[in-house]
Structures are given as structure tokens and as C-alpha cells.
């Protein structure tokens, strides 16, 4: 069985190799992607792909929320508007389960699937089969200003606790000079503030659902999480944090207005880039904080390329995946933009590379990724997979509404108790509607 599959895949590989050389089957691929820096860079390098394979690429670059709405509509109606889609760890297992994605079990030997970081490969697999190839992977970690930390007379441990973070944040805050001790996401949306607070709640012992899919917002750990967050942000957060997401915080940090920032590991390359950041040489890194309960508050995510089932250009789409998520693509970027700017978090070999090891955030990124466990995300057992999300189709909608209630707390429009009560009610309602 394994043997026959192997030989079949070799045959497919041969066919793919042959098609690469023949100019007759040059296809035009339509690829939907998100407007993140690494993807924008990839667009600029598309010529390399066209040169190597003869296929051309049409890019549909959209902002994250619009992209999600657009590709979800298309895949669930089998619209076929795209030959490749950029999706994440949340969508992949759900879509794969519905049979909407082409399995990536016949990638070439040269591609070396085993080199993918196991955490990423697992998160992008369903029933042990890979359905999306990680373009870059991320966890979250603390980025902090070494100069401000020193000024506050404190030293950041490699693995701090939330109590230390609060102490440091308050000590670093200097509102007259527009320096906020800590910047965190508060923006409504499951992929924005929702992702942060969920990951944070894991370290407080909270969970979304118990083993019987009963929502858990009426439990103490959730109240603790929110109260801690609101207290911390009101004492040391920036004004208007209720509408700050990844981008807002990134630009605050780059302008030197944050003492600490807990967010995606990919941000490390932006805050240490002297062309974009005013504090590039003063950034330190540490693991996301915990509460001594055994779980840290870091998440795990990958932006990955997947092929919708039923596309006529499957072979060409696979060639693109093998190009975009390969080690040679990483080398191409390194050659043009430097090692600090290569797409991180996808391949083991990258972290073994001595050139990359000299990048200041490489080790902490890897450590953060390795410390995240989507299969056991919480202190108490849960029936779902996923750290900052629960991989069920209903989650995105529910979590967006829940995070809107939370954001209303951050903006001072309601109390923590009111928000949790509403969250519990609307989650219960939605889960009932979905038939749990």
C-alpha cells in the first residue's frame, strides 16, 4: 500500500517534472492571498516562479477579513474563482474534513515535507494528511524595549509571569512622554483581540468549552483573565486600545510608544528593521507570560497555501506550492532582502542554518513555536483543537461576537460581568443553533 502510493507519487512527480519542461502547458494561476508583508514580498518575486515553470500568476491581494469572507464564499459554493488560496490553521482542518481541499500527499522528494516544523505540519493536516503548505508560521512572544526595561531597573526573564509583566508595564509607563508600558490587542474580531484574549485565558486556566461543549464564560478563570487585562491596560496601555489590532500596535511599537508588546513572532522582523522602526536596536524578546498553571499565553498560527478541490490547474498549483514554500524560496529572499526578512516558522532547516541563527529573534521564535500545543491548549481538558481558536465551523462567528462584547468592556461601555454574561448567552445560543 505504502509502496504503491510511493511509486504513484514518483510517477506523478515525473509527470510534473515533464510538464515543467514543456512550454505547452503553461497555466495562469489565480491566487488569493492576504496583504501581509511576506506575501507582498512573494508577489514581487513571482517572476522567479514564472521563469522556472512557465506558469503565470494573477494575484488577488486582500485585507485579512475581506479575504476570509471572499475565499469562504467561494470554496463553500465550489465557485472555482481561485486556483490557490491562502488560509490558516483554523480553516484547514475544517475544509479538509468537508473534502474541499486537494491533499498534499504527493509532493516531490526535493520539497522534503519532513523538513516542515512538526507543529505546523500537524496544524495543517487532517487525519494525518497534509492539506495546506505553510508559507510562514508564527507563535506569539513578548517584544520589549531593552532601554526602557533598564531604565525601570528591571530585568526581563526568558519566561516571565503575568505578575512580572504587570509590574514592569506600570514601571515603564510614562504617559507625559507618550510611552505606554504595554501594548496589547483589544480590537474586536476573532483573529484580532479575540485571538489574544483566548490565548491569554489559557494561561489563567480558562477554556471556551468543557468536554460536553458547554460554554465556560461563567467560570472564574474567565473573569480573572478579563479583570487582569482591563486593569493592566488601564494602568499601562495606550489610549484607544479597544480598537488596536496587530497593525496599530506594530506602528505604535515602531514609533517607540510601547514598552512591551505581546504579539505574533513575525512582528520581530518588522520591529528590528531599521528602515521601518525607530527602536530597531533596542528590542529584546521573551516567551509569552504564564501564571504558573502550566500553560503559557502564546498561540500557534500558520498562513498556508491550499488548493481547492476541483480546480483544473492542480498540477500547476502544486508547482507553485513547491516553489513558494521551499527552502530555495527562503534562500531567494535571503539573498535579496537579508536573512531577517525570510518567511519564518515553517521549516526546521531554517533554524539549523547558522546564517539564520545569528538573527536576534530566531531562537525565541522557535522556542515559542515549540512551546505551543494545539492538541492540549488549556489547563483543563477540552474537546477542541486549537490554541487561540477552537477548530469548529461555528467558532469564527461566535468568537467575533464575543470579542465585540469584550472590546465594549475595554472601551468602558460595560462591565466585565455584563460582557461575560452576554458572551455565555450568545455562545450557548449559537452552539444550540449548530446542533451541539
Amino acid at each position: 500500500m505504502t509502496l504503491s502510493r510511493r511509486s504513484a507519487s514518483t510517477a506523478l512527480g515525473l509527470i510534473a517534472a515533464m510538464s515543467m519542461t514543456s512550454a505547452a502547458v503553461s497555466e495562469e494561476l489565480t491566487i488569493a492571498t492576504v496583504n501581509n508583508g511576506d506575501m507582498i514580498r512573494m508577489q514581487g518575486l513571482t517572476d522567479d516562479f514564472t521563469e522556472k515553470t512557465g506558469h503565470t500568476v494573477e494575484w488577488v491581494t486582500l485585507e485579512e477579513n475581506v479575504l476570509r469572507q471572499r475565499v469562504t464564499t467561494d470554496i463553500s459554493t465550489k465557485g472555482g474563482a481561485f486556483d490557490l488560496m491562502t488560509i490558516g490553521m483554523y480553516e484547514t482542518p475544517i475544509w479538509a474534513k468537508n473534502g474541499w481541499l486537494v491533499p498534499l500527499d504527493d509532493l516531490s522528494d526535493e520539497y522534503n515535507v519532513d523538513d516542515l516544523l512538526p507543529a505546523m505540519a500537524n496544524g495543517l493536516s487532517y487525519d494525518g494528511t497534509l492539506y495546506a503548505a505553510p508559507f510562514y508560521g508564527e507563535s506569539s512572544m513578548i517584544m520589549y524595549r531593552t532601554d526602557l526595561m533598564e531604565k525601570a531597573g528591571l530585568t526581563m526573564p526568558d519566561a516571565p509571569t503575568w505578575d512580572f509583566i504587570k509590574e514592569a508595564a506600570i514601571a515603564m509607563t510614562d504617559r507625559d512622554n507618550e510611552i505606554n508600558g504595554i501594548c496589547l490587542r483589544g480590537k474586536a474580531g476573532w483573529g484580532e483581540g479575540g485571538a489574544f484574549i483566548t490565548a491569554m485565558s489559557n494561561s489563567f486556566g480558562a477554556r471556551w468549552f468543557d468536554e460536553n461543549w458547554k460554554p465556560q464564560f461563567d467560570t472564574q478563570p474567565w473573569a480573572d483573565t478579563l479583570n487582569f487585562y482591563v486593569d493592566l491596560m488601564s494602568k499601562a496601555g495606550p489610549p484607544g486600545y479597544a480598537t488596536n489590532g496587530f497593525n496599530e500596535n506594530l506602528s505604535l511599537f515602531q514609533q517607540g510608544k510601547c514598552g512591551m508588546w505581546i504579539d505574533a513572532t513575525v512582528a520581530a522582523s518588522f520591529v528590528t528593521n531599521p528602515n521601518e522602526s525607530t527602536v530597531a536596536d533596542k528590542v529584546g524578546f521573551a516567551l509569552a507570560p504564564d501564571n504558573g498553571l502550566g500553560k503559557r499565553s502564546n498561540w500557534l498560527w500558520a498562513w498556508a497555501l491550499a488548493i481547492p478541490a476541483g480546480t483544473e490547474k492542480e498540477a500547476a498549483a502544486k508547482e507553485f506550492i513547491e516553489w513558494a514554500t521551499s527552502t530555495s524560496y527562503i534562500e531567494l529572499v535571503a539573498e535579496k532582502e537579508g536573512w531577517a526578512n525570510v518567511p519564518p516558522g515553517a521549516r526546521t532547516s531554517l533554524y539549523d542554518n547558522p546564517d539564520y541563527q545569528s538573527v536576534p529573534f530566531a531562537k525565541m521564535t522557535l522556542d515559542s513555536i515549540l512551546s505551543a500545543d494545539p492538541n492540549n491548549p488549556t489547563v483543563d481538558p477540552v474537546p477542541y483543537v486549537g490554541i487561540q481558536f477552537a477548530a469548529i465551523p461555528e467558532f469564527a462567528g461566535i468568537a467575533t461576537e464575543v470579542s465585540q462584547e469584550f472590546s465594549a468592556v475595554y472601551a468602558g461601555q460595560q462591565t466585565v460581568e455584563e460582557a461575560l454574561e452576554k458572551a455565555q448567552a450568545l455562545t450557548t445560543d449559537a452552539m444550540e443553533a449548530a446542533g451541539y
Binding site: 494573477e58 488577488v60 486582500l62 475581506v66 469572507q69 471572499r70 465550489k78 472555482g80 514609533q255 512582528a267
Partner: protein
């Protein structure tokens, strides 16, 4: 208008009107100015108004990232196509409503307007499925049809109000002279209705140009107009005010210029029969 106006009063009017005009226009002006700044200048405190190092860098970055001309071309085709098609369908309808009114004419008109109130999101899935079925997903033709249908009620209504202003006697006189229905529309009615048709055309072009729900959800790469172009700039990583401003300026500039050139026409025509 023979009222004597003192220079003083005219001066005060002028000052107030200019102040308010500039205030209303300021957000657009500021966006255009910001598009020529560097990212650091775009957020500097205190803000710089005119005295900064003007740069075209943002425009070249935006152009490098996305092929502006193609989005622009799609926008022109889609907005123009839907407007022309809409007029072809609407002119006869409005003509018959204005000159051969029946008891139900007004009901039909009001019903047409009420179709515009259907919430677009509610029917996204049905329309998407129909588009797949017809194979017109991500085609300009598909969008031309949808936008034509969306704006058809407004076109019919606007034309109806113009046509009603045209005295019926003239048409009857033409009819007496033996003009056929075709001649009547082509040679008598149309010339009189040109200002009305022109402003209908303009208004509809603007509405179609700015429509952002269907144009975004029914396109991928090939038919995507400027609304999709702007959707990739809403939150890039890091500082982006200057780039956002450049992309915004590129998205609104064509229609702004068109609007300015034709504003007299628009003002003259935009009466909706409000003026007798």
C-alpha cells in the same frame, strides 16, 4: 435678482462660504497631501501641512504592488457599461410612464424603488450560486449586469421626472406631423431630455464606480475594479498612512476629476423634478 447687494455683504458671504467649502473638502485635500509625504511625516506631530519634502515614492510602491491601470480599466468598463445598458433599458420605460401614464404607473415606480432596499448581504449566496451556474463569476459582463440592475430603479425614476417636465403638446404636434414613435423619441424627445439624461448618466456612473459590495464579492483577479484595489491597502503592516493615502488618491482621482468637469451638468440635472 435685482436686489442691490453691498460689497460688504458679498465679502462676508464669500468668506463664510469659502471657509465652509474648504472645511468640507479638507479630508480629501489632506489625503492628497499625505500621499506625497514619507511615512514618518505622515504621522508627525505637529502635522506638516505644505512644507515637507514632496515625494512620489508612495505612488511607485503602490504601482509596484498592483497593476493600477487594470483596476482602473475594469472600473471604467463596469461603471460605463452598466450605465449605458441601464439607460437603454430605462429610457423607453421612463418614456412610457411619463407620456402614457396608467393608473398603475406610480405603483410600478414606487415598487421599482423599493427593490433597491433589499439588503445585499442577505442574497449573497443565492447570487453567487447563480453566477457560478451562469459561468459569469469574475467577469466584467456579470458585474455590468448586476450594477445595471441595482441602479435601474434610480435611473428610471430620474428619467421619469425629467420626461414629465417636457410638455406633452410638443409630442402631439410631432405626431400630427406624422412622426413615428421612433422619430418622436429620437428627434423630438431626446434632444429636449439631453440635460436630464446626461446628469442621470453621471449620477449612475458615480454610484456604479463606488459600489463596493458586489464588485468585491463577485470578482477575483480578472474583473476586479478599484474597490478591490483599495481592499488590499486597508491595513498593511507597519506605518501605512502615506501609502494608504496614495492608493486612496489613485482610487478616487478619476471620478473626482470627472465629477468636477461635469459638475455644472450634474447640478443642472440633479433636480429629480424638484423644481418646476
Amino acid at each position: 435678482m435685482a436686489r442691490a447687494v453691498t460689497t460688504n455683504r458679498k465679502l462676508i458671504n464669500t468668506l463664510i462660504a469659502w471657509a465652509i467649502g474648504l472645511l468640507i473638502f479638507f479630508p480629501i485635500l489632506w489625503t492628497i497631501l499625505t500621499s506625497f509625504k514619507t511615512e514618518a511625516q505622515a504621522i508627525s506631530d505637529p502635522p506638516v501641512f505644505l512644507f515637507f519634502d514632496w515625494t512620489l515614492e508612495n505612488y511607485s510602491i503602490v504601482q509596484e504592488r498592483s497593476n493600477y491601470m487594470r483596476f482602473l480599466w475594469n472600473s471604467i468598463i463596469i461603471a460605463g457599461g452598466s450605465t449605458v445598458l441601464g439607460l437603454i433599458v430605462a429610457v423607453p420605460a421612463a418614456w412610457s410612464m411619463a407620456f402614457v401614464p396608467s393608473k398603475r404607473t406610480k405603483d410600478i415606480l414606487l415598487w421599482m424603488l423599493s427593490t433597491k432596499m433589499l439588503p445585499a448581504v442577505g442574497v449573497l449566496y443565492p447570487i453567487y450560486l447563480i453566477f457560478i451556474e451562469l459561468g459569469i463569476l469574475d467577469t466584467r459582463a456579470g458585474l455590468v449586469i448586476v450594477l445595471m440592475l441595482i441602479n435601474l430603479p434610480i435611473i428610471v425614476w430620474m428619467l421619469y421626472t425629467y420626461f414629465k417636465e417636457i410638455p406633452g403638446e410638443i409630442l402631439e404636434a410631432a405626431r400630427m406631423d406624422g412622426a413615428s414613435l421612433k422619430d418622436e423619441i429620437l428627434y423630438v424627445l431626446t434632444p429636449m431630455a439631453v440635460p436630464g439624461i446626461a446628469s442621470t448618466l453621471l449620477l449612475n456612473f458615480i454610484l456604479a464606480w463606488n459600489e463596493a459590495f458586489w464588485t468585491l464579492n463577485l470578482t477575483a483577479a480578472k474583473a476586479a475594479p478599484l474597490t478591490a484595489f483599495i481592499a488590499s491597502y486597508s491595513s498593511p503592516e507597519g506605518l501605512f498612512y502615506a501609502k494608504l493615502s496614495a492608493a486612496s488618491t489613485m482610487a478616487i482621482a478619476p471620478i473626482l476629476v470627472l465629477g468636477w468637469f461635469s459638475q455644472k451638468q450634474l447640478v443642472r440635472g440633479l433636480t429629480f423634478g424638484a423644481v418646476k
